[in-house]
């Protein structure tokens, strides 16, 4: 297995502001993200040779991408892999370049959630018939419920009472809102206090509304090329070091599953570290963007991705390890917490932040002297029917 390391570079990226964009269509979002990326890469639309669209519910076919951008008669494909969809669009594009089939390709992730009028996002109803199937009879639990279950067990396992546990979670939320307040593309650009988080109404016990990410519209885009061609486009291309996806197969049916970690996170991260040649991720990574759909998930991610040892995430939270000025800044752009989670757009939005950080163009959020950045998504029916996706990028 040779892997993708250093074969493909990102030479341009675009990202819309995320939010409740009542006056913007899917077409508007795609055009804005793609044209920012074209401009960033100093290319013309006609330079694109192939394109991939990542969206979960804002378009069923590639036409949803080719039509707004007028990518007439190009090979265009729509990909979908739940919350990892944006990262999957980039992965498909990168592999096509690495295979030598194309030189310049486009990956776009888009989602327009706010037209539905729903609270939260679609869940089990879009998964279709699975081997978990109990036709129409399965409980229709929401996403916060699935993560709340993990929180209850995690706190119990490590002897943390719920009040104490909620305080650790609140610190994660406060950190992400602090970062989001520095980001003009975030949906929520406002600081929150620990007390506000602790007092927010319960959505799924023990998680409150402020433990949950928003529901937003947004799009992001990337232009990829061969690593050996990258410098023709710009002096500071960003190189793909690893792309990893790990898909679960119902480990939750087993009596030995602990409900305090998500193995897809662990496996995707280990694959990515191996591909990128990373031995000590906590030391080697300069920045990470992770899937903080609910605060408890970011806490589990610290352990699942190998940065905190099991049961010790609380100590790293207390120590400020993952704050903007900390040892390993996490969700420097505000995360899903402040961007919301337009499913197909999130993965590429995270990559956008790492890309800008590695180019030292992140403004007030800029971390010092970055070399390696990581992104992470998790999607699916939690636990056991999940997809974990990681990317590692370097300058």
């Amino acid at each position: 297995m040779k892997g993708i390391r250093d074969k493909v570079a990102i030479v341009g990226m675009g990202c819309t502001r995320f939010g409740e964009l009542w006056d913007k269509s899917v077409e508007d979002l795609i055009v804005e993200a793609a044209y920012e990326a074209y401009e960033d890469a100093s290319i013309e639309p006609k330079d694109i040779e192939a394109a991939w669209l990542g969206t979960v519910q804002s378009g069923l076919t590639a036409i949803s991408l080719s039509a707004p951008l007028k990518l007439q008669y190009l090979p265009v494909t729509r990909v979908e892999n739940m919350c990892c969809t944006g990262t999957e669009a980039l992965r498909a594009a990168a592999y096509a370049v690495a295979a030598g089939v194309y030189d310049v390709v486009l990956a776009v992730g888009v989602e327009k959630l706010k037209d539905t009028g729903w609270m939260g996002v679609q869940g089990s109803n879009i998964v279709g018939e699975t081997s978990l199937g109990v036709a129409g009879a399965k409980p229709d639990f929401s996403a916060p419920e699935m993560f709340a279950r993990l929180a209850v067990r995690y706190f119990s396992r490590y002897g943390i009472d719920i009040e104490e546990g909620k305080r650790y979670l609140a610190k994660i939320v406060v950190k992400n809102h602090h970062n989001g307040a520095l980001n003009q593309k975030a949906h929520y650009q406002k600081e929150v206090t620990e007390e506000q988080v602790l007092k927010s109404p319960i959505v799924a016990y023990p998680l409150g509304i402020l433990d949950s990410c928003g529901v937003s519209d947004g799009a992001s885009a990337a232009i990829l090329t061969r690593a050996d061609m990258a410098k023709k486009f710009r002096k500071d291309p960003i190189y793909i070091k690893a792309l990893a996806v790990s898909t679960g197969a119902h480990q939750e049916l087993r009596d030995d599953y602990d409900y305090t970690h998500l193995e897809e996170n662990v496996q995707a991260a280990q694959m990515a570290y191996k591909e990128a040649g990373i031995k000590d991720p906590r030391k080697e990574l300069s920045i990470a963007e992770v899937h903080d759909c609910f605060s408890i998930h970011e806490m589990l991610i610290y352990e699942d991705l190998g940065w905190s040892s099991r049961g010790q995430a609380k100590e790293d939270i207390e120590a400020g390890t993952f704050t903007l000025g900390g040892e390993l800044p996490v969700n420097t752009d505000g995360g899903l917490k402040c961007f919301g989670h337009p499913l197909g757009a999130s993965g590429l939005r995270m990559i956008y932040e790492v890309y800008k950080q590695l180019q030292e163009k992140a403004g007030a959020r800029q971390v010092k002297n970055p070399h390696l950045g990581m992104t992470h998504n998790l999607g699916g029916i939690v636990p056991g029917a999940c997809i974990g996706a990681c990317s590692i990028l370097g300058n």
């Binding site: 009028g117 729903w118 199937g133 129409g136 067990r153 319960i202 049916l253 087993r254 009596d255």
Partner: protein, 486 residues
């Protein structure tokens, strides 16, 4: 020796105090409370739970060759419900099934049919469930009187707890209570007429004829059951027939459950049998479009009914609801639910091919590595071996809560929705919805059992499945759980 070999009961956990109804309408309270089927229950789910209790109390593996469902409130006007009960009991396909609808004495009619089947060699054991969720029109006496309940009996030809010594039936074309095709509320004629010329006349005549035929006298019976619209009329009837209401008449559960409709005769019989001793003779009757009458003699197998999940335990276990909630659960008061995507696509073929896992709650156990998995898998989640499993049913198994959560986004008529991962004794896990439980009671380690419920209901289909609820034996765990704060 034909008789009742087991008896099971399902009283829904919810109670509506009649004062709440009276207060809403500025009317007189009939006193006490009534049992109210939960938002996720109907006459079929209650019947399944009573049937499960009944077979667990008897011998679960007794071969049952017939299933009768007696109800005036079957969820289906066209389509049988007894088949669903048989499927949840995983009975073989040559089991005889029938619904008896339209009469409040359906359950005793079924007892007579079962007796005939057993006598004729068509069956050795037959299960009969009486179950009803009748609606009285808001502000009416019916609304206060009717309660929801289900009771199941197995009739068989060996080891009865109460032997049928004699039986008798009469029909009587009499219009006292009725519902037409599209009625959701029970209609009735003036009570002064229906009680004196209906209930009193029919039972007086039939009891007198029955006793005369068998050369029996009122003093031959330790107990008598005369199910009727109210207790006062029952006392009057007992007196006029020469029975002592104080010592012989079995008092119905009007102040705690209400009139249970098709379940009412068996419910009162359940009161009698759970207190009965060996040798007791019971005059058991029913009323509705005539009357069915039985002489039952209690045997020493009566000990089988003295378990901790019987009628008394179910009456003690209660959660009070208010009138508004009751109205919304009965679709008499529309409510606004959270705006959420439609649940997954309904598909009858899917439900049909997955029937065993849905109704009989059947998972599988790997012959190679022993992993128990639900729903059943083709390739083992433990060792990866393909198609090498035995069926493994979770019905009747107890478990405990491994982890839990609440869910305020999932639309519910009794928010918040509660979830639990239940670990079952002997292995296997299930992510379930919790019901019959207050969020304050949720706790890791809480003992739980499964219960048959409606999951979703659209105008097109009802999705029946199993949920978990706190185990009745584990009531102490209902105290001191975590508290949800908003």
């Amino acid at each position: 020796m034909i008789g009742i070999t087991s008896m099971g009961v399902h009283i829904p956990i919810y109670r509506l105090n009649r004062e709440n109804i009276a207060r809403a309408w500025q009317t007189r309270s009939l006193g006490g409370e009534k049992a109210v089927a939960g938002y996720d229950e109907d006459s079929l789910t209650m019947a399944v739970n009573a049937a499960q209790h009944c077979v667990a109390r008897g011998n679960r593996y007794t071969a049952i060759q017939g299933t009768f469902f007696a109800s005036t409130t079957s969820p289906y006007k066209e389509k049988q419900a007894a088949t669903a009960i048989a499927a949840t009991l995983d009975l073989p396909s040559n089991t005889y099934t029938a619904d008896i609808t339209g009469s409040l004495r359906g359950a005793t009619m079924a007892m007579n049919l079962a007796t005939g089947m057993i006598k004729g060699g068509m069956a050795e054991n037959v299960i009969i469930v009486g179950s009803d969720c009748r609606l009285g029109m808001p502000q009416s006496d019916h609304e206060q009187r009717f309660g929801d309940a289900a009771v199941a009996v197995v009739m068989g030809n060996s080891d009865p707890i109460a032997e049928v010594k004699a039986s008798y039936s009469v029909y009587d074309e009499f219009i006292d209570q009725w519902r037409f095709e599209n009625d959701i509320f029970v209609r009735s004629w003036e009570e002064r007429f229906t009680i004196s010329e209906g209930y009193m006349r029919v039972l007086k005549r039939s009891v007198t004829e029955f006793l005369e035929k068998g050369g029996m006298k009122p003093e031959d019976f330790s107990k008598a059951i005369f199910p009727g619209p109210d207790y006062r009329s029952q006392i009057g009837l007992a007196k006029s027939l020469g029975f002592d209401p104080k010592t012989q008449l079995v008092q119905p559960l009007f102040s705690s459950v209400g009139h249970g409709g098709s379940a009412e005769p068996l419910l009162t019989l359940c009161v009698a049998l759970e207190q009965a001793n060996k040798g007791d003779r019971i005059l058991f009757t029913s009323y509705g479009d005539g009357s069915d009458l039985f002489v039952l003699e209690v045997t020493d197998n009566i000990e089988r009914l003295k378990d901790s999940q019987g009628l008394k335990a179910q009456l003690d276990r209660r959660l009070e609801i208010n009138y508004e909630k009751y109205l919304s659960w009965r679709n008499l008061l529309p409510i606004g639910l959270p705006r959420r995507p439609e649940p997954q696509m309904r598909s009858v073929p899917r439900r049909w091919r997955e029937q065993k896992r849905i109704l009989a709650l059947c998972g599988n156990k790997c012959r190679n590595c022993g992993t128990i998995q639900y729903p059943p898998q083709r390739v083992c989640v433990g060792c990866g071996k393909k198609d090498d499993f035995d069926d493994y049913s979770f019905i009747g198994r107890k478990g405990q809560v491994f982890t839990f959560a609440t869910d305020r986004l999932s639309p519910s008529k009794n928010p918040p929705t509660m979830s639990a991962v239940v670990e079952f004794e002997g292995g296997g896990r299930m992510i379930t919805e919790l019901t019959d439980c207050e969020p304050d009671a949720l706790k890791i380690g809480m003992p739980a059992e499964i219960t048959f419920r409606k999951m979703n209901q659209s105008t097109e289909m009802i999705d029946y499945f199993w949920k978990a609820r706190p185990l009745m034996d584990g009531l102490k765990y209902l105290e001191g759980g975590v508290h949800e704060r908003d």
